[in-house]
């Protein structure tokens, strides 16, 4: 996780040393290309988007592009990775707050909904467009699903409830994916945070049963209202 956040900071705040202008230029070019591939893919769809479109959007030359990336897919997956790393960092931080476990789940859920609603283009790129990149989609989907399921499971301490249903963590991550995907496709990305109370309930029930889940749902209603 520390490695990921380090990458991200470098990407966002290029701090090339003096006397290395080439490195600096490449970093800012890379940054612009990554932002451009998100915008272009969301606007045109992965299949229709061309490297030329990305170059035009980023204001970067073709040669520079191919110095940084193998092809359109490589650039797309690089942008995807940075976004998912950032999402994981936000969720992990929210989940790590020193509170009872159901409240921590609610915080992690709120952070996830906030992340997706804050940037609808990034949201669509990360979750919806990825499925159109072809065979590369499946291993990435699988790895990221496992990554977030593990994140949830690793945060269940000794004193926390044993999930009533064995696969509850996988179901919880599945619920987030399915719901957020649906809202993005229906054009309701910016309204995602309003789903917090109901999603908190639906996510918690398989772990703690209906009563405890309902209490947490009520807290979510108050905290968002």
């Amino acid at each position: 996780m520390i490695d990921n956040s380090e990458d991200l900071r470098q990407w966002r705040l290029p701090r090339g040393r003096h006397g290395l202008p080439r490195e600096l230029v490449e970093r800012s070019q890379r940054e612009r290309l990554l932002a451009a591939v998100v915008r272009v893919t969301v606007a045109k769809g992965y299949e229709s988007a061309t490297v030329g479109d990305i170059l035009g959007e980023a204001g970067v030359g073709r040669e520079s592009f191919y110095e940084l990336f193998d092809d359109k897919l490589d650039c797309t997956l690089a942008a995807h990775k940075i976004l998912v790393d950032d999402l994981e960092e936000q969720v992990r931080a929210a989940y790590a707050t020193p509170r009872p476990w159901p409240a921590r789940v609610r915080e992690a859920l709120a952070a996830t909904l906030d992340w997706f609603s804050a940037d609808p283009d990034a949201a669509r790129f990360t979750l919806v467009e990825l499925s159109t990149v072809g065979p590369a989609f499946r291993p990435i989907f699988q790895a990221e699903y496992a990554r977030f399921t593990r994140l949830l499971e690793d945060g269940i301490g000794d004193g926390d409830p044993n999930p009533a249903l064995k696969g509850a963590s996988g179901l919880a991550v599945g619920a987030m994916l399915a719901k957020i995907y649906e809202e993005i496709v229906l054009g309701r990305t910016t309204e995602l945070p309003s789903l917090l109370p109901n999603l908190t309930y639906d996510l918690l029930v398989p772990f703690v049963g209906e009563e405890v889940a309902q209490e947490e749902q009520q807290r979510a209603t108050h905290s968002s209202g």
Binding site: R138, Y145, V173, A178, E182, V205, P206
Partner: protein, 217 residues
């Protein structure tokens, strides 16, 4: 009726041909994804001419949509056949969900088409699945259930889909029945609540242990 008419009625032949094309589409998508599938692939597999293809379907996408409809109808038929009207609703939901998951495990092409390609081709495909599935599930339960106290059936459906997609992404379609405790839980919990869903989920586990020891009914 004239004796000169062919013994096979034209619409029967027409229908068989259409089904061959749909089958070819399903097979090709399973093998190389929808994006990589060409009309040439389909006509070669179905052993028909290009002209015949275009008599049946306007384009590749129209053929794909027909394949999705066919898969959904198959699964609905399988789910309906898995339980009898005398089954209590929770048992019927468990049996239907079990039958569907087992059918997907046995027919990987169907599973891949529905979870992988359909979503890549049309993100709204999920809405079509819901429309094909949820009314049948809803109908199992009496109308006086307290909807507000339980989880959202639309969400449960999406969760089941993600679980199945993940299993397929891992290349382990034949292992789909391992997900049955969770999927049965999802099929029951929106309607009958957490406790009943857990009970139904345990019945699946017991059935598995039972069949392994040969004591299953």
């Amino acid at each position: 009726m004239s004796v000169l008419q062919p013994t096979t009625a034209p619409d029967v032949a027409h229908h068989a041909q259409r089904q061959r094309i749909v089958d070819a589409m399903i097979e090709s998508c399973a093998e190389k994804t929808y994006a990589a599938t060409t009309i040439t692939d389909i006509v070669a597999r179905a052993r028909i001419s290009r002209t015949t293809f275009y008599k049946q379907f306007e384009d590749k996408r129209a053929c794909f949509d027909a394949a999705i409809d066919y898969c959904l109808e198959e699964l609905q038929r399988i789910a309906a056949a898995a339980h009898s009207p005398s089954d209590p609703a929770a048992d019927a939901a468990r049996k239907g969900a079990t039958a569907v998951v087992e059918a997907l495990a046995e027919r990987p092409g169907l599973a891949q088409l529905l979870t992988g390609d359909a979503i890549a081709v049309d993100p709204m495909a999920i809405e079509r699945y819901r429309k094909a599935t949820l009314p049948a599930l809803n109908a199992l339960w009496s109308e006086d259930r307290e909807v507000d106290t339980h989880t959202d059936p639309r969400l449960a459906f999406g969760q089941a889909q993600v679980l199945i997609l993940n299993q397929i992404a891992a290349g382990e379609i034949e292992g789909l029945p391992e997900l049955l405790p969770e999927i049965v839980y999802l099929a029951v919990s929106p309607y009958a609540g957490h406790e009943e869903a857990l009970a139904q989920s345990r019945l699946v586990k017991n059935a598995k242990i039972g069949s392994a020891t040969g004591s299953d009914r």
